[in-house]
């Protein structure tokens, strides 16, 4: 008899609405949390890949700085994808002695500085098997 003056339809609609709002809130925050983590993991992996490639380039530079060097090739292997995403590596694009690694979705960009004695030619590559070659004057990073 507590039901007098109470509309079941209104009660139903209110319960549904509140539940929907709460559930949406959970889903949105969980989705946002996963998205943040994904971006953080992407950034971390791009940094690691960038530093490893920089180490290979600097190792190649030390090798070709020995007197009498004529020709050298150093092979580097980096992952094809990071966290399931394709990525681009821009080597010394603006003449700033930097590697810029970037993904499109989500937009993450990581910059790693490379210090070399020999000049490094500008190039853009995907991940995978790379080769760092020296022709007598400059170092160049290309897809293998």
């Amino acid at each position: 008899m507590d039901q007098r003056g109470v509309s079941t339809t209104l009660g139903f609609v209110l319960s549904l609405a509140i539940t929907t709002v709460l559930i949406s809130g959970i889903l949105v925050s969980a989705g946002g949390f996963v998205e943040d983590e994904r971006e953080r993991v992407l950034r971390s992996e791009l940094t690691v890949v960038g530093n490893q490639l920089a180490a290979h380039i600097e190792g190649g530079d030390r090798l070709v700085s020995t007197p009498g060097s004529e020709h050298a090739v150093v092979r580097a292997s980096v992952p094809d994808r990071v966290a399931g995403n394709q990525y681009l590596i821009a080597v010394n694009e603006s003449g700033s002695d930097q590697l810029v690694l970037s993904t499109d979705n989500p937009e993450v960009t990581v910059t790693v500085t490379v210090v070399t004695e020999m000049p490094v030619a500008a190039s853009t590559l995907d991940g995978g098997e790379l080769r760092i070659s020296y022709d007598g004057t400059t170092l160049e990073v290309r897809d293998d």
């Binding site: 549904l16 996963v34 690691v48 180490a55 050298a72």
Partner: protein, 328 residues
């Protein structure tokens, strides 16, 4: 009422499924993060260090080979070249076997013809630094483009003692004979004075302007001799910075001894001129003809060697000029 309960249940079910998918995605991200951390701890050495080590080994090994090839007297230039080439082939083969165990393919060979030169030497330990006819102030070698491996072993007791006069400069001012080696290229001069004072063998370098460098000193060994490496700037095995002057010369250099009777011991140097040019004035015995000190003999001044190195990750080629003891 029952229908309403089933609807609410469906909403929660869908939510639960969506959250489950999100958690799975999170687990995959965690997997990627763990893999990334693992990759980050791996060595980032690209394998170039082994190639650099091989390059260093070729330079020092080939240098030793050139010196040991030269150390045989009475060889013609053709014999010296073929000895060096054969020795290099043997060395390359031995090293290739060792490198093969590590998965590397290596090779060294002579590139072109070695640069012919002459080895000038005095091997008589008690001999003064005079020429074949006994002259004490004489030209060791005139207008040589370079000098390498100029080493001396001098007796302490035979050097001039400047202690009584109060030092080198004072002794020179009094007109005392002190042995020196002079290098000049027409515009710059360096004189390396050798003397003794206070129980030590001492060295000072005078430049074109008459300024004397700081002193290098060394105690004689048990045999009473001190070793000097002029082109490597060392005295008694220690660094002697005043001897590091060869970059002051831009043209061919003439080397002279003055007061060669104020010193005794052995010396040797290698120049890239042929024997006939070096001995044009007859200052030396020809080692091919007679024994006696000082003498000249054919020697290889420098050689170019080509080296190749290959490993799974690195391929490397270089041509290196080997001239052991060349200061430039």
């Amino acid at each position: 009422m029952a229908d309403v309960d089933r609807d609410r249940g469906q909403l929660i079910l869908v939510t639960a499924l969506t959250l489950a998918v999100l958690f799975v995605a999170l687990a995959l991200l965690l997997n990627t993060a763990i893999y990334t951390e693992n990759v980050a701890t791996r060595s980032s050495d690209p394998g170039t260090r082994a190639a650099i080590d091989y390059h260093e080994a070729v330079v020092s090994g080939t240098g030793g080979l050139v010196e040991s090839t030269n150390d045989n007297h009475d060889q013609t230039y053709a014999t010296l070249h073929s000895n060096l080439s054969e020795g290099l082939g043997n060395w390359s083969g031995s090293v290739a076997v060792h490198e093969a165990y590590r998965g590397h393919v290596t090779n060294v060979s002579l590139d072109g013809t070695p640069t012919n030169g002459t080895r000038i030497a005095q091997t008589e330990a008690s001999g003064e630094f005079s020429n074949r006819t006994g002259i004490d102030d004489w030209t060791v070698v005139a207008n040589t483009p370079r000098v390498r491996a100029f080493r001396m072993n001098v007796s302490q007791s035979d050097l001039t003692d400047t202690g009584g006069a109060g030092g080198l400069v004072a002794a020179l001012g009094l007109g005392t004979d002190v042995f020196y080696v002079e290098f000049h290229d027409g515009s710059d001069t360096r004189r390396v004075y050798l003397y003794r004072e206070g129980g030590l063998v001492r060295l000072r370098v005078e430049d074109s302007g008459g300024t004397f460098s700081s002193e290098c000193t060394a105690a004689a060994g048990p045999d009473g001799y001190v070793e000097l490496d002029i082109t490597d700037a060392k005295m008694g095995g220690d660094e002697c910075d005043p001897l590091d002057f060869f970059d002051a010369f831009s043209g061919p250099v003439t080397v002279r001894y003055e007061d060669g009777d104020a010193v005794a011991g052995t010396y040797r140097l290698v120049v890239p001129q042929d024997q006939a040019t070096v001995n044009a004035s007859g200052d030396y015995y020809d080692a091919d003809v007679s024994s006696g000190s000082p003498f000249v003999t054919e020697a290889i001044y420098a050689a170019d060697v080509s080296l190749t190195y290959e490993s799974p990750d690195v391929a490397y080629n270089a041509t290196v000029r080997v001239a052991p003891g060349d200061p430039t």
